[in-house]
Structure formats: C-alpha cells, structure tokens
C-alpha cells in the first residue's frame, strides 16, 4: 500500500464515503472500487469533486472513464498524468 500523502487522502475519502458491500472489507490500492462498493450518483459526483479540489486539476468529459477512477492506484496515476500535462 502506498503511503504518499495523495494515496492516504484518496483512501481516506473512499473509506469515508463509499458504501461497501461487505462490512469488513479492507481495501488494497489495486482493488476495484466499483466492485467492492456501491458507486451511486452522489458518490461519483463527490469523488470527482474531491479529486479536482484536492489535487487542483479539472476533470474533463473525456477523463470520466471508469478506468481513471476504478482503484486508488488508477486515481493516483490519473492525477499524475493531469498534472504533467499542466
């Protein structure tokens, strides 16, 4: 599990907001968020807002690919990419 500040932030956000299917579930950075928990519209919207706010990036329509948001690792990679482009 990655211990960088962004990774901790993202895990914290998901742990707090995602309604998980299994109460005792523990997350690794590779786990598929959309399979571990119930991603409803509000969570999805909050997660996009969180990533924009926390990392100072703008999530465009094209970025809203499930692959960019499906695990802690993928979100980190996505944020990194967006920041390099900027």
């Amino acid at each position: 599990m990655e211990h960088s500040e962004p990774a901790v932030l993202i895990r914290g956000f998901i742990g707090k907001h995602l309604v998980v299917f299994d109460d005792d579930a523990t997350f690794t950075d590779e786990d598929h968020i959309f399979q571990m928990g119930f991603v409803n519209s509000l969570f999805a919207m909050e997660m996009v807002g969180f990533v924009e706010r926390e990392f100072g990036i703008t999530v465009e329509g094209d970025d809203l690919d499930i692959a960019n948001f499906s695990s802690v690792r993928n979100i980190l990679r996505f944020v990194e990419q967006k920041r390099t482009v900027m």
């Binding site: 309604v19 409803n40 519209s41």
Partner: protein, 345 residues
C-alpha cells in the same frame, strides 16, 4: 417569472401578519392569508418562513394561529436573510429560481437578491389575486404533490436520525428497510410521470419534457418500455420518484429518458434504476444506447452514465447532445440494503 415555483418563503412582520411581534402580541394575520397558505399547500407548493425574530416567540405565535405545521425548515433568527434563505434552499435541494421570497422590506429583498440573484422576490401581494399567478399554479396536481409537504417532513426526521447515528453508513442504511419498487407505468401514473419530467433537473439525462398523451403512446407501444419507480422506507414513502423510457430496437435498448427526483439522490436509487434497465436489455440479448443532453445542472447524470461504463459514440449540436453506448459486459449489482421489487405489467 416563467418557471413553476416550488417553495414560497414568507417574512412574518407586516407580510404574513399586520404588526410587529416584538412590539405587540396583537399581530393579526392579513385578510385572506390563511386561505392562501392552505391552498398553496394543497397544490404541493412548499412554504417556509424567513423572519428576524426570536425563534420561540415567533413559532408560538404561528402555533397559536394553527399555522406552524405548514412551514418546512422555518428560519427565524438574526442572521442575514440571504443566509437564512440559503439554509432553506440547501435543505430542500431545489434551485433558487424556483423559490419566491415575499418580504415588505425592500432592504431585505435587495440583500437576498445580491447574494442569490436567481431568486424571485415580491414586496407586497394582493391577497385577492395572488393565487392566480401562473407560476403558483402547477400544471399537475397529483397524489405526490398533495402529500409533498408531509414527505419533506419525513425527510427532516430521516436526516436528523442519520446525523445522530454513530455507526457505519451501511448499518444505518440497512435498518431503514428500504424498498425500491419498479413498475410499468399505468394510465393513472401519467400525470405524475409528466410532472417528473418538468420538475427534475439534476438527475435528468435529457431535460426533455413529455405531456400526458405522448407518454400514453409510449406506454401502449410494443417497441417502448416506460417504467416508474417508488421508494419506501420505515419512515414512509418518498412517492413515485423516478422514470425511465426506452425504445427497443433490433440491436439495442435505447434510453430516451432517465430521471430521478433529487430528494432520493443520497440513496443511490438512480444507479439502481439504470442497473435494472441494463439487466433487462442484457437478458434481451441486446446492447444499450442512451441519449444525454447537457444542461447547466445535470453533470451528475453524465458521471452516472460514464461510471456505469457508457462510452460516447456520437456528439451533436456543438457537444450539447451526446449518444452513449454500453456493451453491457459489466452491470453493477444492487446494494444489499435495498430490496428491489419488480412488478409486471
């Protein structure tokens, strides 16, 4: 004003009643006011109070006149009225452009407008003609509109319980005994279905409104499916809160309309209705298409589609109108805390 008003916010002193409560207990309701309040309530228009007064003092005065139960999230205190009205708007989760604020003080109206430019304001009303204003006459008065206030009151209780609950969210949700009932639209449902297309903005895929006759044709057509859904929990019913329309082609289920009332957003039911449709299409051996029209408020719906694995395959009208496709290789399962009940035609 052109849009329907969903909530009327009343000032008290010299607006709802003649006189100033702090100066005299002898305030008198303005003539005809009682009837106005009750008629608006029956029409399904919510009402609240925004007044600079002592909370208990003013609520007692309303109670003595048998009116306190008509107001939802009453805001009585000494904060700026823009803040008080902001509280009402946030709690109800409706747009400022669907709120009418009535206050005899021009200063208060200006202060509120300076912060919330989209709100509608009136300084005085003519009690004889007030109820005739077009924006206060909803096109539809359905079972759901007549019980709207009580459904919002149930919501207040839910929110309170949710805020004071100290356990995992999953546990809280599972003790609500939620049931999500999906049923093909009947003729009696059409007024409500049409009302939903007009009233719903945030979780609305196209913003297209349909009238009774159009919906009735889809309802009877063999190449269309029109479903309504209702949500209930231990506090009561949320009413009929969602609508979906699909056209069945040789290769696809094509979603023409998908919408969900904003009151149930936090319960995740938008995603459930979408999953249900995806399931049905998959069983039918087809793929899925969905129309999406961008508005200034429905980004959440777009994210919902994209996170359900829909891809953009066509863009029209300068990117405003999108066609999304899903091969249905992955369909998100339903959360365990909601029982899904599907009624057949």
């Amino acid at each position: 004003m052109t849009k329907e008003i969903k909530c009327v916010v009343w000032d008290l002193d010299e607006t709802l009643w003649d006189g100033t409560l702090l100066e005299s207990e002898q305030v008198r309701l303005k003539p005809g006011m009682k009837e106005i309040l009750h008629v608006l309530d029956e029409r399904g228009i919510l009402q609240s109070v925004c007044s600079k007064n002592d909370y208990n003092h003013a609520m007692t005065a309303l109670k003595e006149r048998g009116l306190d139960h008509l107001f939802i999230y009453p805001q009585i205190g000494w904060d700026a009225k823009s803040i008080l009205i902001g509280n009402i708007q946030r709690e109800l989760n409706i747009g400022f452009d669907s709120i009418l604020f009535i206050d005899d003080q021009m200063f208060e109206l200006d202060e509120v407008k300076s912060v919330h430019p989209d709100i509608f304001c009136m300084q005085t009303i003519d009690q004889r003609t007030f109820l005739d204003i077009a924006e206060l006459n909803p096109k539809f008065i359905t079972v759901d509109s007549a019980r709207r206030r009580s459904m919002y009151m149930d919501d207040m209780q839910r929110k309170q319980d949710e805020q004071t609950y100290n356990g995992p969210k999953e546990q809280f949700l599972s003790q609500l005994n939620m049931e999500f009932i999906i049923s093909p639209a009947t003729e009696e449902d059409l007024a409500r279905a049409s009302e939903l297309t007009v009233r719903t903005h945030q979780l609305n895929a196209t913003g297209v409104t349909y009238d009774h006759d159009e919906l009735n044709r889809f309802r009877q057509s063999d190449s269309h499916r029109l479903y309504l859904c209702e949500l209930t929990d231990k506090y009561g019913t949320y009413g009929k809160i969602g609508l979906v329309l699909a056209e069945i082609t040789d290769t696809h289920w094509h979603l023409k309309l998908l919408l969900m009332s904003c009151r149930v957003m936090s319960r995740g039911v938008g995603t459930i209705l979408l999953s249900f449709m995806m399931d049905q299409a998959k069983k039918d051996g087809k793929k899925m298409l969905a129309d999406f029209r961008k508005t200034d408020r429905n980004k959440m719906m777009y994210i919902t589609y994209r996170f359900a694995n829909f891809k953009e395959i066509d863009v029209r009208e300068d990117g405003e109108l999108l066609l999304l496709e899903n091969d249905l290789s992955v369909v998100q399962k339903y959360p365990e805390y909601i029982r899904i009940i599907v009624k057949e035609r």
